[in-house]
Symmetry: D4
Subunit: 206 residues, 8 copies
């Protein structure tokens, strides 16, 4: 019987690893639209819950391309570590320092590609005693087979497999904390939820 290690908005930090315009062309385990939507949804929730967020990239000057501009715009003052070469972000002292500077123990991580840019820092952070929550649907890779192998490796090491919607709900805890805010977030990123809200609005406006 172990305690439920539940996401806590006062103890969580978001790590966005290598969501770069070039690298994303490698992602094939999600359709491009699904993936874009999931990544932006994760960014939305990071802002909504005012979670400290850390951006890192790998070789932006080369073929990997720059960080997706939307992310840069959404987190203008976030620590931004352009790694000079380390593949595992946790091998970069600045990145680890930025994480530790938040004083938080719960790492919410997503990136491209899952099996490397997400898995490596996840395994490193777990080994240092952090709790790691992988946002599986905002992390992409070559195909479903690679995805499943990466999940198995991280899961076996103690990472928790999540999706952005569950992250948002676990952080929010109670709709009453901000009904409109959460509703807006979901409406923007879940078309069927938006439809429900619009159907409802139409009927109650009569």
């Amino acid at each position: 019987m172990q305690p439920y290690n539940r996401l806590n908005k006062d103890d969580a930090v978001v790590l966005l690893v290598d969501h770069q315009t070039g690298l994303i062309s490698l992602v094939q385990d999600f359709t491009p639209n699904e993936f874009k939507n999931n990544v932006l949804a994760l960014a939305d929730l990071a802002r909504f819950f005012q979670l400290p967020t850390i951006l890192t990239t790998s070789f932006e000057q080369g073929p990997n391309g720059p960080l997706v501009p939307e992310l840069k715009e959404m987190f203008p003052s976030a620590p931004y570590i352009a790694r000079p070469g380390q593949i595992n972000a946790w091998d970069n002292a600045d990145f680890v320092a930025a994480v530790k500077a938040t004083g938080r123990k719960q790492l919410i991580i997503a990136g491209v590609v899952t099996d490397v840019c997400v898995a490596f820092p996840t395994l490193s952070a777990l080994a240092e005693g952090f709790d790691v929550f992988v946002v599986t649907d905002a992390s992409g890779t070559f195909d479903k087979t690679v995805q499943q192998a990466a999940w198995a490796r991280m899961s076996a090491a103690g990472a928790q497999m999540m999706n952005w919607f569950a992250v948002a709900c676990e952080l929010h805890r109670d709709w009453r904390n901000d009904i409109e805010g959460l509703g807006h977030l979901l409406s923007e990123r879940i078309p069927n939820y938006r439809n429900l809200m619009n159907s409802y609005a139409a009927l109650t406006a009569r």
Copy 2:
């Protein structure tokens, strides 16, 4: 060598979480007909085994919509907790009280969506020492990827992954406890089983 924690009809309680007419439109990891059939099959078996059953919903007055009417009709006297805002049903004191009032330790849970409305109370209940049996096919969510991540998280925490048919069979133990009753249950919800029974009936009636 740990004991086989087997479902016991004298120690099990069924928790149906947020099977609401609006929320169900979010479910895409099962076809609508399969999902409806599975949810109603779980309800059927809850009644057949006279298991205490607890219903809970989230914001029925809004876009989430009311509880699916069939469930309301099937359990007219079940505890019914309309949560005022808590996303995790286990955060609602009335819900937990209703569970504990049954004095039972085996929780059979299903709901919409799997990664939130099922996973959160599952993790909370496990942490309090309950045994949790997730009815995977009566629990729906956005897509197979989210489903698989949610299963992995719950499974890693000690929940048992089941399906309604296995739940029914594990509770029943022996056909002789009620051959006709179980046969009827299966016939209503498994078309191929119904066909077998009808073929058999036709031949033996000759």
Copy 3:
């Protein structure tokens, strides 16, 4: 520019071919629940539009099993041709006579298995000048490959590929002909439509 050969409830007849309890175990291009739902939806609409309906079976006394009882009950006075051996129902004079006795030219056909029990009479009837509308989702066969080959063959011969929902809508023409009746039909067979109706009812009842 050929005229739109549109289903007309005064000129259509429904042919249900070999939906037998044994034969249905051969169907694997639909899940059992989807297939059962589609076949019963077709039966529902045949009754709703009061279309003449003809039932036929092949060797009910043997392994093929009896006609699905629900169909027998729904059409107690329909012509019922138990073919003594003809695989193509159109090779059975009684069947053809029953069709011709209706005086109708539009054949709505479904059956098990698609590539034989549906395709053969479809091709025969087309050759005699009938219009044939295949209800693809109430017709089942061994797998998707066989399904696709059968569709291609029938389509090339001039049959129109439809689904039960489109058949219902094309026959109904205008919701105002019977709003409640069509709504009820859809609610029984399309879970998401039922959910919409229940959400709506809950809101407007307030």
Copy 4:
């Protein structure tokens, strides 16, 4: 050897049929995000090419729900035919009049659900000599099987099966007609294209 019937922005009109908040919950042949993106892309291109656009809905006051608000906002002065009951929009005289009032012969059509709301007016319009271009990816229905049957029926009657991207390109003809405009359209709706543009911009800005 028949001439290539090519979309012409001076002869085309866009018909958006029943993209309503409730009905869209029936769509399962595309993921919700893909479908939303495709429908909005079609709307974007209709505006970009200044094509006359006609909106129609079915029973907005009931469970079908209102037209998706984005569409209403994007075409504030478009003819808007709220059909009182006709399932086939072509059975509604106002709708046909609106189409004919444009004086155009090429109908670009999309809607929910494909097999009914798209197929019926497509077949009617073809029978009256119009050219019909079905935007398959902005038209949704219950599942892939129904989708394929509906495509087969419309294709056999002479409709051309297209997707929103091909429609945009066929209308545009030459990038030089408006490089930035088309680029913007694609960037908004094709994440991988946006990534290419952002990678390019980053490099050329150096």
Copy 5:
């Protein structure tokens, strides 16, 4: 209104093209067991209906490997054309002579790979006025995409797309022609049919 060109056991000949032990390793649009079963089912029915059958192979001495031994054994006296190099069997005069020597006009063809060894002689024979019935499930190729392209090409040229079960049933016409014979054939190659027969036999033997 064209006549139904129905398979006739007195006018049909079976062509088995290049089912060689090496070439079959190229087949990936069916699982190996499904494909083996389908090919042998086609051979079974050729024998059952005593159809003239023609075997042909390509370069058996090399990597393509010998004809599958089962086929050789089942048709010991069939014309056997080991083509010295022609890829299209119809380019081989002996093969065409063997076909024409049967005096039959209906060609039932299957082979490996579908897009070449089946498609080429199919197109050639159609051009010479033969009727061609492609046994799609006894013909294999690299993947589903290639399969679909090959079907489209042959279908557009007038070939009829079939499967072995439909071929058997269309040839047999009436169960009474040989109930036990057809039953045996189906029982050997359709496990679910065998199960039905065994269930039936068990019950009626009581």
Copy 6:
């Protein structure tokens, strides 16, 4: 570091649970041909390695149907426990006695359906200290979702997930123990292996 618990032909017993002609119609996570082949392959290897084998069935007189005749014929003197009602075979004293009478500790189990007839005795036997090896591909159930949930439950309890081919190879250890015997077994049940052998034979016979 735990020892590799490897199958040993002197310590293994095969349990075939409820492979009945009726019940098999419920299996949809494998195609009928694949499933039949896998079950017979497991039976083949049980005989080849002369493993004690225990057969058990549930209600053969009713709709479940008799044991698949091939299995009955292959193991004429095997203990055969027709359970009078127990769903979990391990609840039947005769079955457990038959297992224990073999004095073996490694249980190789397969059955229909996986989530019940395989999972229940697997969990019971593990709890009593047996080693359980589930032959996943000779065990079938309603669909892939149920399959995956059942695997997860058994795997979490310590069962080893295997397939018939791996079972055969792990038991055989070294080809030299019987090259021809194992080759024959594989040739009968793996078409591509048969093809390799036939290609080889043709070349070496020259």
Copy 7:
């Protein structure tokens, strides 16, 4: 009965349209490796049969990226039309002139994306009386749905759907025209064929 319009190496020309490094990131209906292999296989065969080949690109200086370098290297002296803006290559006079300059009537076409860069010139060329053979597996687009719509449109207009392997075989006609040459081509692009050849070589070398 129309003649079999068979590819003829003296009358065929290959058109490679917009296989550019940027645009290829849009292709999701094939895996990247499959697609690369298919495109290079088509290039290989164009060279092997010494077919005139025409290269064209769209906006190579911008985000679309340069022509895949391998293609440029393989056809150093091929006409190379960098279109200044025309989306449909057939709208570019130089391109059409290059095609016509070959004096050939059979166009073998492939490109990115299928629904635009392949479909548009295909439809244009068909309208001018050319025969068009679409190499479906060397043409890529956004997803399978778009692929299928594009195939349907081109097929309805009279294009023949092919794959690179069928193109090679139809051009080659007879292995004896160059056994080693064709063998080499297949060995490079079909791994299972290479394996067959290597197995064979090993055995015959003994």
Copy 8:
């Protein structure tokens, strides 16, 4: 909290088990091109990181066929153990001796088929205290079901599930160790990465 057991190029050895020309025809869980590419990518990285590599085969003289020639050529001086009969390579003393002679503790393993030739030595080596990293995408087997069962078994025993790309990145640690070298490796085996590099090169060359 266990340490992150990270691949180390000074402690890792690569084991390539039974990648033979015949056996590969059994692989169906990857397409032939994907599988070939993945196996060669693993070989590439073994050379790039100068990892000791051990080759082993099973019965090369028979139907299994010789080792894929590319592998033989790439590792001309690697230990090469042609096992005389042991199915589990770890049962072969020479193989184990070769592994131990490297003095390394991290085994990177891949082979054909996953459930036997990979799983058995993996389980044996884990039991002896080695760390085992399974290269899932360079290991193939009969189908996805077998693949998943084999992964589950190995994972439960403590093996780490990886893919070749993650292996390469974990070994490399930092791009600066050899930017061009790693870039070349990725460019050869990941078409979308190659495209990124070529797009980049074209732009920066201007």
